[in-house]
Amino acid sequence: MAAGVAAWLPFARAAAIGWMPVANLPMPVAPSNKNKRQDELIILNVSGRRFQTWRNTLDRYPDTLLGSSEKEFFFNEETREYFFDRDPDVFRSILNFYRTGKLHYPRYECISAYDEELAFFGIIPEIISDCCYEEYKDRKRENTERLMDDLEDNKDSKLPNMTFRETMWRAFENPHTSTMALVFYYVTGFFIALSVITNVVETVPCGYMPNQRDVPCGERYTEAFFCMDTACVMIFTVEYLMRLFAAPSRYRFMRSVMSIIDVVAILPYYIGLVMTNNEDVSGAFVTLRVFRVFRIFKFSRHSQGLRILGYTLKSCASELGFLLFSLTMAIIIFATVMFYAEKGSSSSKFTSIPASFWYTIVTMTTLGYGDMVPKTIAGKIFGSICSLSGVLVIALPVPVIVSNFSRIYHQNQRADKRKAQKVQKARLARMRISKSGSSTAFLHSKRNGLNQSLELTLPYYKMKLSPQGSLEEDQQLKKTTSLLESQHHHLLHCLEKTTNHEFVDERLYEQGYLQTALQNFPSQSPSLSSEEGITGTCCSRRPKKNIQPLNATHTHSHTHNLQELSALHIQCGEQQPLNTSRSSLNLMSDESGSLNCKSSGLVTTAIISIPTPPSNNSRASPDAPSPPNPEAPPLLNPSSTDVVKISAL
C-alpha cells in the first residue's frame, strides 16, 4: 500500500459501517492492536546527523530495515536513538521515501554507493519513481559496462588451460593477445591491401604496344598478376580454413557475414581455375571477377569504425527506408510531370516516363549533368520545382542518420537497446507485482489459514480448540502480518461477508468459471468428460480428482452446518504470489511445505471440518435466506461434514 494512503485506512474501515445494514452474515472480529502505542518521534542518528520522524512513518513499509524489527539491532541504549554508521546524504533520500512514498535518485551520487545503501536498508531499486528512474538505469548500465570492459581486459591476459582451438579462436578475435596473432593480423591486412591494389592496377592502361592500342596492364603482364592473385588467394584460403577450424560453432561461423565475404572473395579465383578459357563462358568469368572487390570488405575485421558504420546503417534501416520511399515517390511524380510538360516540344529527350526518371534523379540530387534539359517553359518551371524539392527531400532524413551514427559511435552500444527493453519490461512487471501485492497478500494470508474468520456469534469455538493451537495461531499471525495488513485484511473480509462471496485468485476463478459452465450443461455427458479434461489440462498441475474436496470446502460458509477454519486449496502454478514482505519470506522458509508448488500440484492447508451442534441452526438461520447459490455444485455431500479431514502440508 502506498505510504500516505495507509493513513486513510482508518477512514476506509470507518466507511465500512455503510455495509453493515446490508450484510446478512455476521462480521469477523476486528484485529486488536494490543500493543498500540501513542505515536512517538524516533531519532535516527546517521553518522552524527540526526533525523527525526514518527514511528508510524517508518512502519509504512514493513519489509524494509527501518520498518521492521531489524532496526532494533541498531538501537543505542544510552542515547535512546537508532545509530547507523552510513552515509547521511543518501539517507536523506531513503527517509524521504518513507515520508512521501517516492524514492528519488540524486544525480550527484555515485551509482554504486547508492545501490549499496539501498541494499543495506532493504529497498528494491525498482520502486524508484519515474522522474528519476531513467537516469538511474542509464548510470547503472554505464557502470556495468565499464566494469565488464575492465573484467574483459583482465580476463584476456591469463587463461591457462584452453585448448589449441580456443587459443586460435581468441587469437583471431583479439589480435592483441599474442605476438603471433598480431603478426597474422598485419600479414592478412597487407595481403588484403595488396589484392585490392592489384585489382585496381590491372585495369590501368600501361604503355603502348606498337601495333595495338592501349592495353591494360593486366593483359600485358598476365603472369605477374596471376602470380600475385594466386598468392593472395592462398593466404585468404588458409586464413578462412583456420578460422573455420577454430570457430566454436562452425555452423554459426559459416552463417556470419564476415565468413560469407571471405568466401565470395576467393571463389572467383577457383572458379576461374576450374573453367577453361572458353569463349562462351569467359564473359561470365569476367563478371565473376567483379566479386574480387569484395575483398575490401575484409578490412572491416581490422577497423572498428567500419563495423560501427555498418551497424549504424543497419539500425537506421527505417530512416533509410523512408528516404528511399520518399525519393521514389518524388521521382515518379516529377518524372511524370516533366514527361507531359515536355511532350509538346520537338526533339525532346524526354521520350518516356522511365527516361524522365534519369532527369529527375539527376536534378533532385543537384547533380545536373545537363544531358537532358527541359525546353518548354512549363518544363523549366517544373524542373526548378523539382530541384528545390530534391534538396528538401534528401536533407530531411540525413541528419537523423548522422545523429544515429554519432550516438552509436560515442556510446558503442550494440545490444543495449534490446537489453534495456527487457529490463524495462521486467521493471514494469515487478512494479505491477508489488502493486498487486496487497491483493495477493490478502489471498496469501487466507491460504495460510491465518485470518481470524471466527464469527462473532460463536466465540466459544475458539475455546474449544486447545489453548496451544490458538497460541500458535496468534504467534503465526504476528509473524506474518503487520497490524496495518491485518486491519486491511479484516476490511476485505468484512466485504466478503457483506456480499457473501469470497475473493479468489485467477486460477481458482477460472476453475470455478469452468465448473459453472459444466453444471449449466448437464445433459451433454460426453462433453462433460471432455470439459473436465479441459479443466484438467488448463489448470495444468491439478489432478482432477481433487475437484470434489475443493467444492466441499469452499461452500463452507454457505452451508450452515460446517464450521471450519478457513480452508482453501492452493492452486499452485508457476506464478507464486510474490510478496516483497520480509516477514512472509521468513514464513516461506520456515513453512517450507506450505507453498512448495514444485513438489505437489495441489497443496492443501489443514482442513478441519467439525460438525456443529444443532443449536446453531436457529442462529444460523438468518444465513439461510442468503442468496442461494444455484451453482453450488451437486457434488457436495453434506454427509462429508462428519469426516474430519486433516491433510498434511
Binding site: A14, M20, L456, L508
Partner: protein
Amino acid sequence: MSSPVKRTQWDEELTQFRQDHGLSKKVLLNCCLVRRIISWASPSKKDSIEDELELSAVRHRPEALEQLEAQTRFSRKELQILYRGFKNECPSGVVNEDTFKEIYAQFFPQGDASTYAHFLFNAFDTDHNGSVSFEDFVMGLSILLRGSVQEKLNWAFNLYDINKDGYITKEEMLDIIKSIYDMMGKCTYPILKEETPRQHVEIFFQKMDKNRDGVVTIDEFIDCCQNDENIMRSMQLFENVI
C-alpha cells in the same frame, strides 16, 4: 422618405445612435461584425484566466483545533494524527471526488471501488460543494467512530438515500448494492451472477420494509436495525479504529 409604420425600439435607438455619431449604416455593421468575429475567435480568454486563478486559490485551511475538538468527539491528539494523514495525501486541504476515488480504490485492488466511493463522497460532502474539506471529513469520522448507534444508523441511511429525499427506493438500494459487489471484482467464488445484487435487495427490503410500500423510511430502517442482533453487533466493530 416613407418610413415604416412600426419600428422597434432598438431600431430607433440605432438610428439615433447613427445620426449622433455620423456613422453610416455600413460602417456600423462592419464594426459589429468585426467584434463578433473577434469574440468568436477568442471565446474563453476571460474564462481561462479566471479558471487558473480558481485552481491556485483552492486551498483550504481548516478551523482551529479547539473548534474541531468541540464539534467532534476526537481528542486533540487524534485530530492531529488525522490531519497529518489528510494533509499528506491532499496538500491543498480539500479532497475532490477523483482523488477520493483514487484513495479508496487503493484498498480494493481486485475490484472497482469508484461507484461506492462516489456514494461515500456524497455522504461525506454534507454541504454538497463538490469537495470534502477536513471538517467534513472529521465530522463524518466522528459520527462513524464515536457516534451513538442512532447516529451511525442515521449516517448509513443518509448514505443509502442517494437523492436525499428521506426514502430509500429499490432502485437506490440496487445501485448501492451493485457498487458494493463491484468492489469484489471479477475473481470471486462463487461467480457473481447478474441477479445476485437484485436478490440481495429483495432480502433487504423484506427485512426492512415493514409496511410493504416499496420504500424504506428512516424510522423503519432504524427500528429494524435495532432489532437485528448481527447489525447491532457489527456497528460496534470499528470502535477502536483510531
